[in-house]
Amino acid sequence: MYVLSSFFAGLVFGIGLLVSRMANPAKVLGFLDLAGAWDPSLAFVMVGAIAIGAVAFAVARRRTSTMLGSPMALPSSGTIDRRLVLGSLVFGIGWGLAGFCPGPALVALGAGASKAYVFVTAMLAGMLGFELLKRGGSHGSGHEEAHSRP
C-alpha cells in the first residue's frame, strides 16, 4: 500500500504539473521575468496547491500516525541557518537559468523532451556531488539528518 500510494501521489503530482503548464520551462521563466512581459500563472498554481495542502497539513499535525498506521515522518527542524539560505540561493540561480526545478524536469523527461535528459543528468550529478562532499566531511550525522528534509 505504502509503495502504491507513493506511486499514485507522484502520478497525480505530475498530472497537476502538466495541467498547470508548469512542466514547461517557458512558463516558469515567464513568471520569473518580472521586468519583462510577466506571466503570473505560477503564483496561481501555488495558491491552488497551498489551499488544499494547508487543510491536509493541519489534519496531519493532529495525527501521530498515518492512515496506514505507520508513524508520521514530518521534519521537526526549525533552524534557519546559512545552509538553508545558501542552498536555496544556489537552487534559485539554477532555476532561473533554465526554468526547471526537479519535479517539472522529471515530468518533461517522461514527456520525451530530449533536452530534459541533459538537465536531469546534470541535476543527479549535482545531488551525487552533494552526497560525496557530505560523506567526505566528518560532521555529526544527526545534525545532517535534521537538515535532510524541508
Binding site: S5, S6, F8, A9, G10, V12, G14, I15, G16, L18, V19, S20, P25, L29, D33, L34, G36, A37, S41, F44, V45, V47, G48, A49, I50, F57, T66, L68, S70, A73, P75, G78, R83, L84, L86, G87, S88, L89, G92, I93, W95, G96, L97, A98, F100, C101, P102, G103, G110, A113, K115, V118, F119, A122, M123, M127, F130, S148, R149, P150
Partner: protein, 144 residues
C-alpha cells in the same frame, strides 16, 4: 510591470495547483511524508534498506504522468530554450542547491508554505528572489 495576458493561464494554473494540492495531501495523510521531490530523488543516491522502493515509486509516477495525461488529451508544449551548456550548469546548481538547502519548489514551496514552516518560508523567499534576479540579469542585462 506589464502582465503578459496572452500567456497568462489563470484557470489551468489554479486547477493544476489544486491537483498538486491533492497529491501532496494524499502523500502526507497516507504516507506521512512531505512530497519534496529533491529530497525523494536525493534519498535514492544514499540508499538505505527499506527506504528505496517508495522513492522509486514516486519518481516513476512523476515520469509516467505524461503517459497517463496523453491518454486523455494532447500533452501541453514543453519549450526548453536553454542551450545544453546552460542546462548542464543549471542542473548542477539545482542538484547541489536543493540538497544543501534541503528542499525545492515542492518541499519548501508547496508543502512548507502549507504548514507555515519558518524554514520553508525563508527558503522559498530566497530561491524565488534568486530566480527573479537571475532571469533579470540573463534577459535584461546580458540579453542572452
Amino acid at each position: 510591470m506589464t502582465i503578459d495576458w496572452t500567456s497568462f493561464t489563470p484557470w489551468s494554473a489554479v486547477v493544476g495547483g489544486l491537483i498538486i494540492g491533492v497529491a501532496v495531501s494524499l502523500f502526507v495523510l497516507v504516507n506521512g511524508r512531505i512530497a519534496g521531490i529533491s529530497g525523494i530523488v536525493g534519498g535514492l543516491l544514499r540508499p538505505r534498506t527499506g527506504d528505496v522502493v517508495w522513492r522509486f515509486a514516486f519518481v516513476a509516477g512523476l515520469i509516467l504522468a505524461p503517459l497517463a495525461y496523453a491518454i486523455v488529451t494532447t500533452l501541453p508544449s514543453i519549450d526548453i530554450a536553454a542551450s545544453d551548456p546552460t542546462l548542464i550548469l543549471a542542473g548542477v546548481l539545482v542538484g547541489i542547491g536543493t540538497r544543501y538547502g534541503a528542499g525545492c519548489t515542492s518541499g519548501h514551496g508547496v508543502c512548507g508554505l502549507s504548514r507555515l514552516s519558518p524554514r520553508s518560508i525563508v527558503a522559498t523567499v530566497t530561491f524565488m528572489g534568486a530566480g527573479f534576479a537571475t532571469v533579470f540579469v540573463a534577459r535584461h542585462m546580458i540579453g542572452a
